[in-house]
């Protein structure tokens, strides 16, 4: 769920950039460490990013008739950890802006927070938690993808309501959430199912 260029007032653009920056910097430090120890992981990370980009240009149909672009971030977070995915996510978002004009430059910070940080972190935590409880990996990956997706939307709704708190943050938030509830709840389940299919396939090999 990209926030478009020009949608957020400049103060909020700045605010989300400031929130996103330390996480991405931490991710960069992590990636640097990993690639110095294992130089062969560099092309692998890049190529995973390319995969996430392609995945997000697929259109998933849903029962309500709308379509969603799977983010792939949930899967990435489970495989690489959320810090590395925040960097890959940031680069993918830049490419989406500059190659497809999806999202934007001033809204980049906000999009990184919702799609590159909040979603993947939630997915990763859910997956870790479920594995600890001892449920099957398929259930884990499904819930991780679904909850990762939802948290992305909730974060986006928070960002929009903060930017347009009319008349209050709360009432704006309710409005955005209602819209998303209709469209995004089924889509998140759709992405969860797709992620399970991919994950099962990988496990079969």
């Amino acid at each position: 769920m990209h926030i478009m260029e020009g949608f957020l007032p400049w103060q909020w653009c700045l605010f989300w950039y400031i929130i996103a920056l330390p996480v991405v910097v931490y991710g960069v430090i992590q990636i640097k460490k990993v690639t110095e120890e294992h130089p062969e992981s560099k092309p692998l990370l890049a190529i995973t990013g390319a995969f996430i980009f392609i995945l997000s240009s697929l259109k998933l149909p849903s029962v309500t008739g709308s379509t969603s672009h799977p983010t792939g971030n949930g899967l990435g977070a489970v495989l690489f950890g959320p810090a590395a995915v925040s960097v890959l996510g940031a680069i993918v978002l830049i490419f989406q802006a500059l190659l497809l004009a999806h999202g934007g430059i001033t809204t980049l910070g906000a999009n990184i927070v919702s799609m590159g940080i909040a979603g993947p972190f939630a997915a990763w935590l859910v997956y870790k938690g479920i594995r600890k409880v001892g449920w099957s990996p398929s259930v884990g990956i499904f819930l991780a993808a679904v909850i990762g997706d939802w948290l992305t939307y909730v974060t986006t709704a928070v960002q929009l309501s903060l930017a347009f708190p009319v008349p209050t943050f709360g009432s704006a938030f309710v409005k955005f959430i209602i819209i998303y509830a209709y469209t995004q709840v089924p889509l998140a389940i759709a992405e969860g199912l797709l992620t399970v299919v991919i994950f099962d396939y990988i496990l079969k090999l």
Binding site: A50, L60, L194, V197, I198
Partner: protein, 259 residues
């Protein structure tokens, strides 16, 4: 479903040889002016000017450009309608007569301003996407000291996006040939298979690329080879005067409302 037309234009447009700093600074500064504007006048002016540049200077076919901006702009328009109805606190200026819905003046103004900013900002983003090849963006990222590792990963990622895009298109076509994507359930199955297969191939490919890089004496960091181009005094002056003109306009129209 998959298109890379914007990138094709970035490599072959009317102003592809114009200095990359000039183009990037122009797009981003103008985008920022559009964003800080508190009245819709300047964002709409920016939209008109940038559209003019895209069609007549960069020589992007008008038909393509107009078609391309239809979707985001209809979204901007829906946002406008949505805000006009739901984001007002003052007195109603128009009663819709269903569900007690009404358009308020401040809702209308907020929606209209947001729509104008999207139009202004989006046209600048499209300008950047259509006129500046990605390799020039990479050299700018390097100049402004974005960490080397990020630029390297971005470079590799850019290249392999297109390789995988071609492969994904072929896979998609071959699935269509065998009647995949006919119905909701089959669509999921087909898409899951496509994504999985692509994922496996990306991993195999990653290993192969590392071998070819090692064969060329890769030592752990990609040392890039670029010739720096100076933005040029004339371009700076042109840029500064244009942005000052926009800023002046922004100041003069500060807080101006439609209704």
């Amino acid at each position: 479903m998959f298109e890379h037309t914007l990138d094709d234009y970035a490599h072959s447009n009317g102003i592809k040889n114009v200095n990359e700093y000039f183009k990037v600074l122009f797009a981003i500064l103008t985008m920022l002016v559009s964003l800080i504007s508190t009245s819709p006048v300047i964002p709409i002016t920016i939209f008109v000017l940038v559209t003019f540049l895209i069609i007549f200077k960069a020589k992007i076919p008008a038909k393509f450009y107009l078609k391309f901006i239809t979707v985001p702009f209809s979204f901007a328009f829906i946002t406008f309608v949505f805000m006009a109805i739901f984001f007002g606190t003052g007195a109603a200026i128009l009663n819709l007569g269903i569900f007690n819905l009404a358009v308020t003046a401040d809702g209308f103004n907020l929606g209209f301003l947001t729509m104008a900013r999207i139009m202004g900002g989006f046209s600048c983003l499209t300008f950047l996407a259509l006129t500046t090849p990605m390799n020039e963006i990479f050299s700018i990222l390097e100049d402004i000291k974005i960490p080397q590792i990020v630029v390297e990963i971005a470079m590799l990622m850019y290249r392999y996006i297109f390789v995988f895009l071609d492969e994904a298109i072929n896979m998609y076509h071959s699935q269509e040939t065998r009647l995949g994507y006919s119905g909701l359930k089959k669509t999921y199955k087909s898409m899951g298979m496509l994504a999985s297969n692509l994922f496996i191939r990306t991993w195999l490919r990653g290993e192969q690329i590392y071998i070819t890089m090692e064969s060329r004496c890769y030592g752990g960091s990609i040392k890039t080879f670029k010739s720096r181009k100076d933005i040029g005094t004339k371009n700076i002056l042109l840029l500064l005067s244009f942005e000052s003109f926009l800023l002046l306009g922004t100041y003069l129209t500060w807080g101006l409302k439609i209704i």
